[in-house]
Symmetry: C2
């Protein structure tokens, strides 16, 4: 392999906390980019020297060399930067599907996302800008105000309309004068997920795709009953 990503789902798999467990011994790593070193007799679409990424789950990318089926890998341009190619098959499509599959968004709508400095978060910010959607990026407080400001500038450069610390979302939204978000994308759960739910517009949708806080989402029933929120999951 040229490079392989390290995602929370890799760690969770090693910890035994992921629903899909490979037969052991196994090689970890869901994403990566490799170079074809040799091909078997029946291989027709890939050649030695091709850059390839895994398109089947659980190939095992944390390795130097491996032997795989042709159908399990997909050729990518060799001039695609290694870091981009090595993290191509999980996070970018996740971001795209989160943005496209739950709520029909129109230009001018707002969305909000927790864990906005994550890989998926950064893709979401860029895709939202491209779609003309106001993205409200929620992040954990950093070690000091300078680090907070640097991260906020970075996320705004990517596409965030507003950057808020966890715990300050209501104030950040009010200050920015944006319409309340119709879609919340949450990879944290716990308190941050609950705060995101409370900030949504009536009839809004919360999509939970991660649980980085390792704590349950707490939903006051009134948010579901009177505000008519829908809560979904995405894997």
């Amino acid at each position: 392999m040229l490079a392989a990503a390290v995602n929370p789902s890799d760690i969770n798999t090693i910890e035994g906390k992921y629903p899909l467990a490979p037969a052991t011994p196994a090689v970890a790593g869901f994403e990566g980019v490799g170079v074809v070193e040799a091909v078997g007799a029946g291989v027709s679409r890939q050649r030695v020297g091709d850059h390839v990424v895994p398109i089947e789950h659980g190939q095992g990318t944390w390795c130097t060399l491996g032997r795989f089926q042709e159908r399990s890998w997909y050729r990518v341009p060799a001039d695609l930067p290694t870091a981009a190619a090595g993290a191509l098959v999980i996070n970018p499509p996740t971001a795209l599907r989160l943005l496209e599959e739950f709520v029909p968004l129109r230009p001018g709508d707002s969305i909000a996302l927790t864990g906005a400095s994550s890989a998926v978060g950064r893709y979401l910010l860029q895709l939202a800008r491209w779609r003309g959607v106001n993205a409200v990026a929620v992040v954990r407080a950093r070690r000091d105000a300078a680090a907070d400001a640097a991260l906020a500038a970075e996320l705004k450069a990517l596409g965030a309309a507003v950057v808020s610390r966890e715990g300050a979302l209501r104030e950040a939204l009010a200050e920015a004068g944006l319409p309340p978000p119709v879609l919340g994308l949450d990879c944290v759960a716990g308190e941050a997920g609950g705060e995101l739910a409370r900030a949504l517009a009536p009839g809004g949708t919360l999509v939970v795709y991660g649980g980085m806080a390792q704590a349950s989402l707490k939903l006051p029933p009134s948010l579901l009953i009177f505000k008519n929120l829908t809560v979904r999951g995405f894997w």
Copy 2:
């Protein structure tokens, strides 16, 4: 009025916890059945002696006499039992909509409901039996085993396939050998709502329509992500 119901929503309104607050002074009570004592000049569809139920929100039914618009009340047969007529306009349609509007149910499917001894719960059990659907009724433990057994017998007579205490749903479902519920109907939230969510089939839907536990619903993100539950509200 001949009779008026006392619902949790009436109490919540008096406490100021309900989203719709009447201008005060106001008469409480959302449901009831009355007899027309006199009619004004323009009234054409109702006559003195007619039995009527309120079909607009917040008419105020906890009163002996009142003056109302004709369009706000609906004539019902005078031989409809008073207790049924006086609780006709909220709970029965709520039960019907909960059963019909969220998940397309087929005969043999299972549903589960918390607060199953409530008025809505009892309607749900009857409607589920009529639809050929297995209804799993979850209730709080009563003061002793005899009271538990009496309630279970009562709910089974209405239509429950299984009656479970809160906290014992998983065991009750396993013992009954029923397919996991595709629809959960929760008026409790808190622990009982979370237990209901965990008992649902993959891809199932939890509809929260009350919060009798006065506690947030706690949802582990894995239920949303890996089990693909959807959580909705109903008012």
